[in-house]
Amino acid sequence: MRKHFPLRGGVLQRPYAWVRAVDGVSFDVHATETLGIVGESGCGKSTLARLLLRLIEADAGSLTFGGEDVHRASPARLKRLRRDMQLVFQDPYASLNPRLTMEDAVAFSLLVHGTPRGEARERARVLLGRVGLDPRLYGRRYAHELSGGQRQRVNIARALVLDPKLLVLDEPVSALDKSVQAQVLNLLQDLKEERALTYVFISHDLNVIEYVSSRVLVMYLGEVVESGTADALAQSPKHPYTQALFASAPSLDPDRRLDRPPLAGDPPNAIDPPSGCRFRTRCPFAMPRCGDAPPALRPVAATHDVACYLYEAAVPEGAGRRE
């Protein structure tokens, strides 16, 4: 899947450059699993989330959901498909209409799909209760009267009201306090089991991703650099970028402290990414060939793939990690 954004300027407003937000990302999500997607801010995670729901159109690539091509679906089919896939947004302030009461905000999706108003309200109230907001207290309130955590609960209720199968969560807890984060994460876990949901969970916070995910994709500058089960990645991260991410994530476990310094510097900009492997400019193991062509994603174990030349010739364990 690919998405480039034009940057316009000059007298005629012609695009003078393209931001390569998402480039050649390809993955499967299995039913009822939680796929975590992790990466620094600006690596294309939010763009990917919007592409998954076709809120923006992809430049190339395809997206299949339950055997149906989402990116070629007719408007009518798309409307139907959208019942099955929903999105929870990052910003609890911008994601709720300030002019709607919470029950109306949740009920709106149902009204769109033809549920009578009274029934839609009732279902919205039930769902508000389920996400931990007493509908008698909060049903008639407006967004500005709620805290960030409460708003995020409403966002979750709004996403669930259509009984979707897939929920894309775009940094759902990043804007919240740590203590509230845990509550919301636990709520999400409960809901998932209760409703047999499938999650695509996007975050920059490795701790959160590790906690919720069964499988993890690591993204860097719009590309996937490593993927594998959460355990495999935590036990033996392969890509130097993944290793750096783990190194910079605070851990209380002394066995998991690394001797490698965490990432230095900012990621290069996505308008003009480095040739070859995009990480090579910050990689401690960069080799001359890294600049020639981007390494492909190759398996290093049964469910563990990595895109790095260090593992091309089945380089044995230990590029940087002390076991």
Binding site: R50, L53, L55, L78, K79, R80, R82, R83, Q86, L87, F89, Q90, D91, A94, S95, L96, N97, P98, R99, L100, A105, F108, S109, L111, V112, H113, R136, L137, R140, R141, Y142, H144, E145, N155, R158, A159, L162
Partner: protein
């Protein structure tokens, strides 16, 4: 309550239905002293204009040469008479009708057309936006007064031409505000969420977009009413508005202007009426702007 935080003595709410947004706005307006004063003044002005046929003691067009330029407080003529001996009170009452119609209609036209065009340009974007907005820019090449005078100068005098000219002044102004508000709201995540729910353009515009852009547009339009009054009366002051002998504040000011050497107070009255009305609208617009700010 929705105004929690805005009130110094309000307790943290526990239960109960909060006020809807518009009720909150109404509540705030009713509790602002300046707004109340301005609102009361405006109500009186509008009522007196509407009820002019019943309130006016004399026929506004019937004069008497013997009674020319009677001073304020003259017997039977509370506010004196004009240069043709017509009763000033009656003419001011009738004149308010004309001035208010000439000033409010263009703002309403601007509100309707401008919101439509601005939301269209903002929501659709692309070429439509460029086309609409560049066209509006052309009207911004003229200061408001000049544009109004240019158009009605070419069209010639008359109420209809005044309305056309002033509408052309106000439509582009509302379009600009509506467009920028729409672009801003359109980028917010709740619009994306509504699209993700499978909603078509219609319900999104109705429930999510309009509800949020109408506030700023309304506030802006309310600030334009006083300008419209000054311009509408100004056009007839130049002889471009309603035609004599009809009573209209600007026109009355114009015809009485020659009489300032005889009577200094009576010629000032129509202008005072314009001033008070325009100021009341401005104060009300200020109150509305403050009341419509969402505070959390």
């Amino acid at each position: 309550m929705a105004i929690a935080g805005a009130l110094p003595h309000d307790l943290e709410p526990v239960a109960g239905a909060p006020m809807s947004y518009w009720r909150t706005v109404g509540w705030r307006l009713a509790h602002d002293r300046m707004t109340l004063v301005a609102g009361t003044a405006l109500t009186l002005i509008v009522l007196s204009a509407v009820l002019a046929p019943w309130l006016a003691p004399f026929d506004p067009d019937a004069g008497s040469i013997r009674l020319r330029l009677a001073p304020v407080g003259a017997p039977a003529h509370l506010l004196g008479t004009d240069e043709q001996g017509r009763d000033m009170l009656s003419r001011l009452l009738w004149g308010g009708r004309m001035t208010l119609v000439a000033a409010l209609t263009p703002v309403l036209v601007g509100l309707g057309l401008g919101t439509g065009l601005g939301v269209l340009a903002g929501y659709v974007g692309g070429l439509t936006n460029t086309l609409v907005m560049r066209t509006m820019d052309i009207f911004y090449a003229f200061p408001a007064v000049l544009l109004a005078i240019a158009i009605s100068g070419a069209l010639g005098p008359g109420l209809a031409n005044t309305l056309i000219a002033l509408s052309i002044v106000f439509v582009p102004r509302v379009v600009r505000v509506a467009e920028s508000a729409t672009v801003q709201v359109k980028g917010l995540e709740y619009i994306a969420a509504a699209r993700a729910s499978g909603s078509g353009v219609g319900p999104i515009l109705r429930h999510h977009l309009l509800a949020n852009v109408l506030g700023p547009i309304l506030v802006f339009a309310s600030t334009q009413v006083s300008l419209s009054i000054i311009l509408a009366a100004g056009l007839s002051f130049l002889g471009l508005g309603v035609t004599p002998p009809a009573a209209e504040w600007g026109l009355m000011l114009n015809t009485l202007r020659q009489s300032i050497y005889v009577n200094a107070v009576v010629p000032a009255l129509p202008g005072l009426a314009i001033f008070v009305t325009s100021m009341a609208f401005n104060l009300l617009a200020d109150g509305l702007r403050d009341a419509m700010e969402i505070r959390s």
